[in-house]
Assembly symmetry: C3
Homo-oligomer: 424 residues x 3
């Protein structure tokens, strides 16, 4: 069974998720049904996780504003779940315009769009509407604000899958699933990680172990680190935070804290030859790489995105919808991750079995007539062989030779068949 | 009592200093009166200091040229002490134009200005006039050249102050005080070092020790190294040659010999965000960093200047006067040095006391409503915390995050108050 | 007796060489006559050298195409030895146009020139003509192709010279001599290496040992490595492949595999101040540095060229002739290599004998009057002294100070005479 990433996004899109509560539970369950190796981890409400406290479960049933003058509902949660500030406390109250406006969020610079707003760590309530709609309601002076939400003790839910290989050393992928109806940020990440899990499952005799985790952003990764820190620090040699991976506009690499980990070089090599690559320094981070690279944790984790969170106009609005993500964009993102996995599995450190250059011509891998021309793909082979002296890994060789990672892996496989290269 | 740097310069300006003799003695005394911790070090004339010999004391009483045709004195030392070549031997002789001109120095490219010329290490005499004035005297044919100077055995004088801290490791500041009436080069350095001394005195429970020295250029630093080399090499971890620090035009950083010392990174971070920063390689050195970085010495010393010696048009002329240096320029220079001292004292290697990011929102240090905007000063805190894992010092963190050193120290102090950061 | 490099090229030009056979034997003999230290090394045909087999000796006596229609010979080997594909099997056969054209090589982009084509490692035959000449013969329809060549068991010949010094550590130079009548590529290399050998011979009390080798390209260097690998890996600290060193157009540096060997820094420093320097990455390699830097070998070898193979329009054509190389170009190339040898011999790691700056003025090496001007050559001395603290070699100092290698060696020699510098 193949994984249809776009279908996952479409199926999960309508659910109103938050960092806790039924939305994320149902969404995790959906993925666990596809990849049963994803196992639920539950952290009790109220648990201290480092400097934070696991919040209660939030349930939302309904929310709207009623304009008494127009006798009309608007900011109706049932029509668009972004209309309610995520994690809002319940309210049912008549308010005047001033009080309403204090709790009404818009994007004046993008007047047609409804913003996504949260208040997880301070009790608050609010509504989100477009700036244009806010202007229309301007005339009313009495409003009912109604939010039917509740908090209860329960659990923070997350799900992780560990695929063992010959080595205990782990390649790590993390993504989050706490956002309500938005597609690129962040249903694309869970869709991609599902396909990545499927691919890892399909690898026979895995060399490396793999750890994949889907969790609510920030509090989820902090809770996960709190529970598994020793294991993570012991085993992870390369990791990626996957976020906003569903559009086709560009490829983004958010550097790890010191920019010099295996994850940085691996991702850099996997992006060689792509059109429109953006490198972001760690100072421009914003997702769970914040936690994975934090003091006391310091895991070798980079961020991989297409159009990065905060860097595309639909970000955190109702325009981040099913038109923004595409099957092609998702597949391209999968190809990047696949090539990194292949790099680890097929030829992490390649080594030539032959001293000096091999005679490629005798194997019909090289022109036998030497004429004044360039033979591009033949040079690729010679470049790969030349750096296969056991000192550089395949990512470093790709970066050094500027040969795209997937191309160089293919060249390796040919040369391995001819008994010229092997891995250490 | 506050230190008024501009007043120091004004008071010392009229004195005719040289590398030895009453001028520098009187000038050092003036500063010792303000900061009694500055103690005199005296090296006997004739002492061998490495490849050099300490010269005799030079006294100058009067000097001029008398034009017999015009019956007029000119190049009158009493009107401008730059008129006589510094360290001139005595002379009283009738000379013709040719002989006079051999000993007359001008600046043809800056025809209105009188140059500053010295001949310390070879017996010589001479006068300095403006090119315009030289052209006027062209018609005379007999001149009396009169220099009433003398040399006697005595001492080379310098003054140093050592402020002990908990650690023996020293931060070192050096400047020189051998120039006659010029302001930026070099009364600004002694004025600044006086204020720096005052500031260091004011620090309670100093972490580091500080060594400050005021000396005649070249022979002074060589003599100082000769006398204290073992101590200097054992204790100095970071040092600066302070020269030409009184104007407002730019900030200059003269790299240490290999460009990779604590002094380089400290100064680089202290200049972040300043307008007009100039980085000079060690090849463009010219002051006492020459000696501090020489073979057999190799101290971690950079140069700090505003408009660097040799790089501003008034340099080594009578135009380097009280109009060039300003109170504001001096204070700005002090702020740079102060921030470096603060970096050492307050948070040399900061370390987070919390695993993962702290919950800044719960301490009202972060927005609790997450909306699609940038919160600049909050990012500064998170950036500082993120790199506070005990691997980088505050200068490196400032350089890495591009947060100006004084800003990042302030952020540190706030986060320390909240028990989030501490120093190692 | 001086070595006249241009004469060597002129004398050797007419000979039709190949990787084996009488042409290369005769050419090596010519050089061995000039430098008797060059000793012949012979590897038997059929010997396995790593992944390759030493080929038989190839002898060519005559070759041409006869056009029956025009009753005219063309592509006549006796007029231009490039006309026959080098290492062609014998043939004597009537062929039609189609069959002829399959074995006829031209350069459509350079229609006046005859290309140089080889088929060493696969039995084949062919002719090379200009595209213009090919067009003319287009009308004929029956042709006799005649190649009077033969293969026999014998030897692959190469020649090497080892000049012992006090240290066993070797500086290595390699060039090749397998090309028929072409001048820059590759009679310039053997001409240069001959003069280099002469120069090394002339050095009394050599500090370092030197290994020079002239061989057929690729199979020759592979055979040489096969025979001497242990010695090469043990002793060579710096090496250069010399190729295309006879024109005046530019200087080229082909980086070693990792770009960080003594050969890279030495060559970089020797090229400081030259007009038109081109740096090529190892990915643009193409000559025997391929073998010297290959897995299992990894010698510290860079490539030195003027207009690099493949990068000038006459390359591998009959236009690479005696008009392209000049005595001046050859001498300039020699000067580069000479300065590197001098660097090793005269002052590999210079060290100041004096703590602090020496008093250059007292030795008349520095102005004694300090005036507002720049004294360029005096700064060179101070820069060299400053970095002579035993941490950097002369090549690194040259690169750091941007002082051309030959200039800095001259400055060293002056300062050594004054007992200021010595070598470690």
């Amino acid at each position: 069974m193949n994984v249809n990433m776009f279908k996952i996004i479409k199926d999960l899109f309508p659910i109103c998720r938050s960092i806790t509560g039924p939305g994320i539970k149902k969404s995790l369950k959906y993925i666990e049904n596809i990849i049963p190796e994803f196992k639920r981890v539950k952290i009790k409400s109220g648990t201290k996780v480092f400097d934070w406290t696991v919040p209660k479960e939030w349930t939302i049933n309904d929310a709207y504003i009623f304009d008494f003058k127009n006798k009309k509902k608007f900011a109706d949660f049932k029509k668009l779940n972004l209309h309610v500030v995520n994690f809002s406390t319940p309210i049912n109250k008549i308010v005047n315009k001033m009080e309403l406006f204090k709790n009404l969020y818009t994007l004046p610079d993008q007047p047609k769009l409804v913003p996504y707003v949260t208040s997880y760590y301070k009790k608050n309530w609010g509504f989100c509407v477009s700036e244009n709609d806010k202007k229309k309601i301007n005339r009313g002076n009495k409003f009912k604000v109604y939010i039917n939400s509740s908090f209860k003790n329960g659990y923070l839910d997350l799900s992780h899958a560990i695929f063992k290989g010959k080595k205990n050393k782990e390649i790590f992928f993390s993504t989050y699933l706490c956002h309500p109806s938005m597609a690129n940020n962040e249903l694309s990440g869970p869709a991609l990680i599902t396909k990545v899990a499927k691919y890892i499952k399909s690898i026979k005799n895995r060399e490396y172990s793999y750890r994949l985790v889907i969790l609510p952003e920030t509090i989820g990764s902090i809770s996960y680190i709190h529970k598994f820190r020793k294991n993570l620090k012991k085993n992870i040699i390369c990791g990626f935070n996957l976020s906003c991976v569903g559009d086709e506009r560009e490829y983004s690499h958010i550097s790890s804290k010191y920019g010099n980990t295996l994850s940085d070089i691996a991702l850099k090599s996997a992006l060689i030859g792509k059109k429109k690559i953006k490198y972001y320094s760690f100072l421009e981070r914003g997702s769970d790489e914040r936690q994975y690279c934090s003091p006391g944790v310091n895991l070798p984790v980079s961020g991989f995105s297409r159009s990065k969170y905060g860097a595309y106009k639909e970000y955190h609005t109702n325009a981040d919808n099913l038109k923004l993500v595409t099957q092609k964009g998702l597949e391209q993102s999968f190809d990047v991750i696949k090539s990194i996995i292949d790099g680890f599995e097929k030829c992490f450190i390649p080594k030539s079995k032959i001293v000096c250059e091999p005679n490629l011509g005798s194997r019909n891998l090289y022109h036998t007539i030497s004429h004044k021309k360039k033979y591009k793909s033949q040079n690729l082979k010679l470049d790969l062989i030349s750096y296969s002296d056991g000192k550089m890994n395949i990512f470093e060789i790709s970066e050094k030779t500027k040969i795209p990672l997937d191309t160089i892996i293919n060249e390796y496989l040919i040369l391995k068949k001819f008994n010229i290269l092997d891995k250490i």
